[in-house]
């Protein structure tokens, strides 16, 4: 089974964030970037399926130069090949514009499955995989918590998470796009051997014109939505911050819970 996995590089969720000078995004200088969490789970699921079916995984990433680090990590984890969509025209795209570029890149090759994370930890559209599916004309599922191949790979039993602690199980014909939820598996760590091998693997580069797309179809120009500004949310009154070292803060807090909030 040949599987395409889309991975996105996002700011580390633990990082301290600042709003950029133009107020329209976050300041990316000195920001640590990592592979988006649910994408790591998607990659692990794809690698496991590829191993069982004697197939291979190709990782796709759209973004600036730094995206190569994420793709290199994907190769170290076991992907056979990486494709880097890099072009100034791709910048500032919403999910529809980004999905259009990724679908065009994936459509250049033959795949049985496309896997993505369910949502990015930065802008969080939760939509790119569904849009790729629409453009490829394949069925899709979002928030996938289980995949079981059937009948020599022409269909799969898929489990999707629903609200209130329920899962739904259904059969999906392949090829399909699966948008994987974090927690579906236990992502592996890269081995030293994997890291060494990754250095020899190919990272193909594709520009907007390589994909046969116009600059007006991708990036900010191809998006129906534009970001006007970003801000830290107004938090209303917010918390009363209790200062001091651990011991004095703990004592002060317990006192307040007892006498002010009266919940102890």
């Amino acid at each position: 089974m040949r599987i395409a996995v889309c991975i996105k590089q996002v700011p580390d969720t633990e990082a301290r964030l600042r709003v950029s000078a133009d107020g329209k995004w976050i300041d990316e200088e000195d920001l640590p970037f990592v592979i988006n969490e649910s994408d790591e789970y998607a990659l692990e699921e794809a690698l496991q399926i590829a191993e069982k079916t004697d197939g291979e995984v190709v990782v796709f990433g759209l973004g600036p130069e730094r995206t190569r680090e994420a793709l290199r990590k994907g190769l170290a984890l076991g992907a056979a090949k990486a494709v880097h969509l890099e072009d100034e025209a791709f910048e500032g795209g919403d999910a529809v514009a980004t999905g259009r570029a990724l679908a065009a890149a994936i459509g250049r090759e033959s795949f049985d499955l496309v896997m993505t994370g369910s949502q990015s930890d930065d802008i969080g559209w939760g939509a790119t995989g569904s849009i790729i599916a629409g453009l490829l004309g394949w069925p899709h599922a979002w928030l996938v918590m289980g995949v079981e191949l059937e009948e020599g790979g022409s269909s799969a039993k898929v489990t999707r998470e629903m609200e209130s602690g329920m899962n739904e199980i259904f059969r999906l014909s392949l090829p399909a796009v699966l948008e994987v939820q974090a927690g579906i598996n236990h992502p592996r760590y890269a081995s030293l051997k994997g890291i060494m091998q990754a250095k020899k693997k190919e990272i193909a580069k594709l520009s907007c014109s390589d994909l046969g797309l116009e600059a007006s179809q991708v990036g900010a120009a191809g998006s129906g939505v534009q970001i006007l500004s970003v801000a830290f949310p107004e938090t209303g009154e917010g918390a009363q911050i209790i200062e001091g070292d651990a011991e004095s803060a703990a004592k002060a807090l317990v006192e307040k819970l007892k006498t002010e909030a009266r919940v102890l």
Partner: protein
């Protein structure tokens, strides 16, 4: 922007998802701003969809439009996208507003792309700016929010975040008429064969009744670091809960999860340890009476909903807190 606004209600087996009312409230608000008219749209088959239609009629809207089709008995994105795409071509709504549920997210992106609509998921605020629709939505896991605009003239599909528009603000009327939604029946083609529904590991622990909860987040760092937290919970007589990353990492079982994909709680005291406060977590615990947050990051959104905050490493604060509580109770 067209004047017709659709608010999509969601039902399952005749039970209306309560977030449907919030989508209707958002649509009523936008209709006032844009001088538009609201129609409620609900999909399903037979009695279930009929019963929710009469319930929805109390909203002050132009009409409640029902799509009743055998292939809509169970949700599938293929049937929903096909139906909506053909209905949009006939009725030309300018704005479609859905509740931000897992089901909406599953199909709305594909519908937006296939219908040429702009897509804005997880809206928390809506207004006009320079005559254009401006919408706020969380980014960076809720640490920040972005204000986004729909490009000129484009129709758009929005989903509204749970709790962002209060169902209590619903404008009621004297019974909205019920109408059929026009669509091409041939376009309704399910793309999944539904096999069944299962409960995830069964809910052995019911956190909804707990009066005190100590909840841990990613900041706890590992299953081996839980002992001091357990001692704190014991001193307080509290149940232990967690945010999603803790569960995904296997540090606690899934029945301890609080948030949109876990349990909804409303204790009188909620102590959040190393929880940043992603919106998915906040929706599960915002009914708590008093929230205490301990987090290293002073910018963590959890401090926005907390009454008391301590900006520090939880591993230093927790043992001190256990001690202080034991002394206070002694």
């Amino acid at each position: 922007m067209g004047k017709k606004i659709w608010a999509v209600a969601q039902q399952r087996a005749g039970e209306l998802n309560r977030m449907s009312w919030e989508a209707i409230v958002a649509a009523q608000k936008l209709a006032r701003l844009l001088d538009g008219e609201v129609e409620v749209v609900v999909l399903g088959e037979g009695d279930p969809v009929k019963s929710v239609t009469s319930d929805l009629a109390r909203a002050s809207v132009q009409c409640v439009r029902t799509a009743d089709h055998p292939a809509l008995a169970s949700y599938t994105p293929g049937a929903y996208v096909g139906l909506f795409r053909s209905a949009i071509e006939k009725a030309l709504p300018g704005l479609i507003i859905l509740p931000h549920t897992y089901q909406s997210i599953d199909f709305m992106a594909r519908l937006a792309q296939e219908s040429g609509f702009a897509l804005v998921p997880e809206v928390t605020e809506a207004g006009l700016e320079d005559g254009r629709l401006a919408l706020r939505r969380p980014i960076m896991g809720g640490k920040l929010s972005a204000k986004v605009a729909i490009k000129d003239g484009s129709s758009a599909i929005l989903s509204v975040q749970s709790g962002a528009f209060a169902a209590a603000d619903l404008e009621e009327g004297d019974g909205a008429p019920s109408e059929a939604l026009e669509f091409d029946a041939a376009a309704v083609s399910p793309d999944r064969e539904i096999l069944g529904v299962e409960e995830v590991g069964g809910e052995q622990v019911d956190l909804s009744q707990a009066s005190v909860i100590v909840a841990v987040g990613r900041g706890v760092g590992g299953a081996d670091k839980m002992a001091p937290v357990e001692e704190l919970a014991q001193a307080l007589g509290a149940e232990i809960g967690a945010s999603r990353p803790v569960i995904d990492n296997g540090w606690l079982p899934r029945d301890r999860q609080i948030g949109s994909s876990g349990q909804t709680v409303a204790p009188k005291l909620y102590i959040a340890l190393g929880i940043s406060g992603a919106i998915q977590h906040l929706v599960g615990m915002k009914g708590s009476q008093v929230v205490v947050a301990v987090n290293k990051d002073p910018g963590a959104p959890i401090f926005g909903v907390a009454r008391y905050g301590v900006v520090a490493d939880l591993h230093e604060v927790v043992p001190a807190l256990t001690q202080a509580i034991r002394e206070a109770k002694a």
